[in-house]
Symmetry: C2
Subunit: 346 residues, 2 copies
């Protein structure tokens, strides 16, 4: 489409700073004839402290009218753990049916990794986003007593598993190596494991060119540090995806460069793009945050909206910038944003 109507949620802490740079680069990347309209929303800890609200039905109606959402990061130490996660982040993912959580990991030249020997890392995790242990099913009895019992229910449906598995197969088919790894724990979580495995095997029959493998989540963490080059596309459950994508980010350059898309593939609801990192209150307001993860999330956003060439330009700009970093004095958040915008425009 020749216009983008974007909801912008800077959020808290460094979210504010990195989103400003993301928008700068987005504007620089867009062709003249694509009209960008943005509307900013103040969700997050500030709104919560001021009003007690996290995300109302009216908010969802507003957000729904946009083509996509760009989020910085939300949360601050003054908000109890879980309130903004359940009340905002997860509520949005569930309300907008963001069932494909896309998290690419690519170790770019010149970028430091904690792994020895600079391995080749270039894979993408397709994490399920609306089921598993994230549904909020469960509860507590006898709270605060010596007899408290707390349960968490992982809910998995054939419908929910199949759509994300299909998405992952299609992505694997479109990549040169055409390999898809299912990560689960089907030897212990046998009910959910059977569902994931049987759906995976069934869809695999439609993709004879895609090489498939199954790896338990515990073993996957070993491979992510000993042979990350073995992965091309990974499909996995919501919780396992949460865990392995943080590890994947760590080995492929850190959360300073890890981008993420919470995608509703049908387009029925706007998709949401955000860096994997949090609001980092300890460095907020100091211009120390690296906006690269947000800028790469903007690239995912553009690709999702069909602006592939612009997405590639942004990714190339980030690659080039990272490759030269070793030689440069440290720069501020906005200096990095300026440099990226200049590369993208130029």
């Amino acid at each position: 489409s020749r216009s983008i109507n974007l909801a912008v949620i800077p959020g808290d802490g460094i979210g504010q700073e990195v989103v400003a740079e993301g928008l700068k680069v987005l504007s620089a990347a867009l062709p003249q004839d694509v009209k960008l309209e943005t509307k900013e929303y103040d969700f997050g800890a500030r709104r919560y402290h001021a009003t007690g609200e996290t995300l109302t039905d009216a908010d969802l109606d507003e957000l729904k009218r946009h083509d996509a959402i760009l989020l910085g990061a939300i949360g601050d130490p003054g908000v109890p753990s879980g309130v903004l996660e359940r009340g905002f982040l997860l509520k949005l993912r569930f309300a907008f049916d963001h069932h494909v959580n896309l998290r690419p990991s690519k170790l770019l030249p010149g970028v430091a990794t904690p792994l020895a020997g600079q391995p080749e890392i270039d894979f993408v995790v397709v994490r399920e986003g609306t089921e598993g242990p994230y549904t909020g099913n469960g509860g507590t009895i006898r709270k605060g007593t010596p007899h408290e019992v707390a349960t968490e229910v992982s809910v998995n449906t054939a419908f929910g598993v199949e759509r994300v598995v299909r998405d992952a197969f299609a992505r694997a088919q479109a990549r040169p190596r055409k390999k898809l790894t299912l990560v689960h724990k089907n030897n212990v979580l046998t009910f959910a494991g059977h569902l994931w495995t049987s759906v995976f095997d069934k869809v695999a029959e439609e993709y004879p060119e895609v090489t498939t493998e199954y790896i338990h989540v515990d073993a996957a963490t070993i491979y992510l540090v000993t042979q990350p080059e073995r992965f091309d596309v990974i499909v996995t459950d919501n919780l396992f995806g949460d865990i392995i994508t943080d590890l994947a980010a760590a080995v492929s350059g850190g959360i300073g460069v890890a981008a993420s898309g919470n995608i509703n593939p049908s387009g029925e609801f706007p998709s949401m793009f955000e860096p994997v990192h949090g609001s980092a209150p300890d460095i907020a307001g100091q211009g120390k945050a690296d906006p690269s993860a947000t800028v790469l999330s903007v690239a995912l956003l553009l690709r999702h909206l069909g602006h592939d060439a612009e997405a590639v330009r942004i990714e190339d700009a980030v690659s080039a910038d990272l490759a030269e970093r070793g030689d440069l004095p440290a720069r501020s958040t906005s200096q990095i944003g300026d440099a990226l915008a200049a590369r993208v425009a130029g």
Copy 2:
């Protein structure tokens, strides 16, 4: 006690080979006046293929009469995923109330790690062993149809959480650094997360000398590769413990040296000691397996039974052997076992 009545379960694949070396080193380590009696059991894939049995009530009665259990590894590709895990390994952990799963991680000098810069790694994970998503609670409806729903229920009790948290605090208190990290995901799994966090905070009051911290499981995987030296003792849930201990093993020398104890601290039931690795059918019977993880599990077993001096001798022998490996030609499983036995005896 001046006698050890040990149940030995070599299991499948390399389990057979590594257990033989574990017993060799155990015999070499024990003082003359400690009588070692062993009885071997054929649990695992062989028994399952022959009889369809995994672990019967009669088996449990037999095993119960021993002071401890040494296990190699069980499983082979001919057994469907989950059958031996649920039918033997987990059944035994639950039947014998192995609620403390102890997994030390120490990067020994001379041992290769996938991490750059040879970091200092010396921590122990106390993983809960009888609750969480491992209980087998859950089920499937409409199996095999497009409307299949599969659930997995994580069950957490104040009783179960408190006893493992107490065990971990006591271990932290006994170590020089006196630091304990709780790993959970209390911002999403808010029911179980609240229980773990509140019990942890309550018990912490009794251990004013222990420094405590809380880390989400996803972030913990980042720290395990970027700053593993920050950890001293970690306490965590059954599933998170499964995942992070494989990663911990990978960064601290690999599963060739990762030992584990499934402990019933009260002594009501025998505890079980095993290497973290599996039966590795691909290299079975070739004398290629490293018995060090099993030998280190024997050290944990001895310490559990009060033979601390012998445990230390074994650990020192493994350290010394590993430190010299770089200079030696490759050795077979039994050659490594012989070398360790000689060091321990001499």
